[in-house]
């Protein structure tokens, strides 16, 4: 049975514990990369990752983008978020269409 989990700093992810989602506390890059690699082969199909951690491992996220599973998506951290998720969306539109202005507006 496939599973879902969340990676991030303790403050941001402790609430998910109550929902029955596995949580993995990690704040350093090496640690996170190892965790993701482990999770990917252990039937975790959705990996939520807080934005502050995601920013440290963007290269790894790019690698997993081309694969159907696991789906790695970013969620805002306690410390507040930039807009990494939107940026990824914009990048995907740019890759497909050539210009993302028609959806996101030219002002960004």
């Amino acid at each position: 049975m496939a599973k879902i989990c969340v990676i991030g700093d303790y403050d941001s992810i402790c609430g998910f514990n109550a929902l029955g989602i596995d949580t993995f506390v990690s704040t350093e890059r090496d640690d996170t990369v190892r965790t993701i690699e482990n999770l990917a082969v252990n039937h975790y199909v959705i990996i939520l990752i807080t934005e502050n951690i995601a920013l440290k491992i963007t290269d790894i996220l790019d690698k997993y983008k081309s694969e159907p599973l696991p789906a790695i998506i970013t969620i805002p951290a306690v410390s507040g978020g930039g807009n990494l998720g939107m940026q990824y969306l914009r990048k995907a539109v740019e890759q497909a269409v050539g210009s993302a202005d028609m959806i996101f507006g030219a002002d960004e």
């Binding site: 049975m1 496939a2 879902i4 402790c14 081309s66 539109v93 497909a96």
Partner: protein
Amino acid sequence: MSVMNVNPTRMELSRLKKKLTVATRGHKLLKDKRDELMRQFLDIVRENKALRAEVESLVAKANKSMIMARSVMQSEAMSTALMMPKQQVSIEVSQKNIMSVDVPVFASKTKTDNPHDIYSYGYAFTGGDLDEGVRTLAEALPGILKLAQQENAVQLMASEIEKTRRRVNALEHVMIPDLKDTIRFITMKLDENERSSQTRLMKVKDMMIKETIESKQA
């Protein structure tokens, strides 16, 4: 204008003509595929954009409550409260095919049906903020799952569209013009050969007639 490196023969000509029909047909099909993919892709992206904004605001709200909860509770009490979850979420994965792109579809299943099982603690030693935070997260969860599915689909479709677009462009701007040029080149060359043999025959005929006349006169 670029002509392929081929021998100007009739056989080559018919081979290239066949190739051209296949290429034109393939180009049309790929173009249709690209357009449809693009349409669906943009639909999903628009939906995804709205959903992400919604989910992010929900999670941010939950985070706020959790911070409040942490600030009024001892961290030990808090980790104890959240340590043993009653609920367990598992995911079922199936596949959906959008224009030849295999996209995973997620459906969540919880261990128990009771929606109140997300509170894994007695209420005596915890603050209301914790309840609030956990409840908001639970509210956000279906959105998060949908978001995961859509974002995954977006990434996969984006690379498929890029691939298809490259193929369409390669056919439209390289393959088809090259084939047309080469066909033209071979046709002209064959015509030229035809004309040259015609003239040669006429010349030979003239010479033969001349010879006959001379032999008759002699």
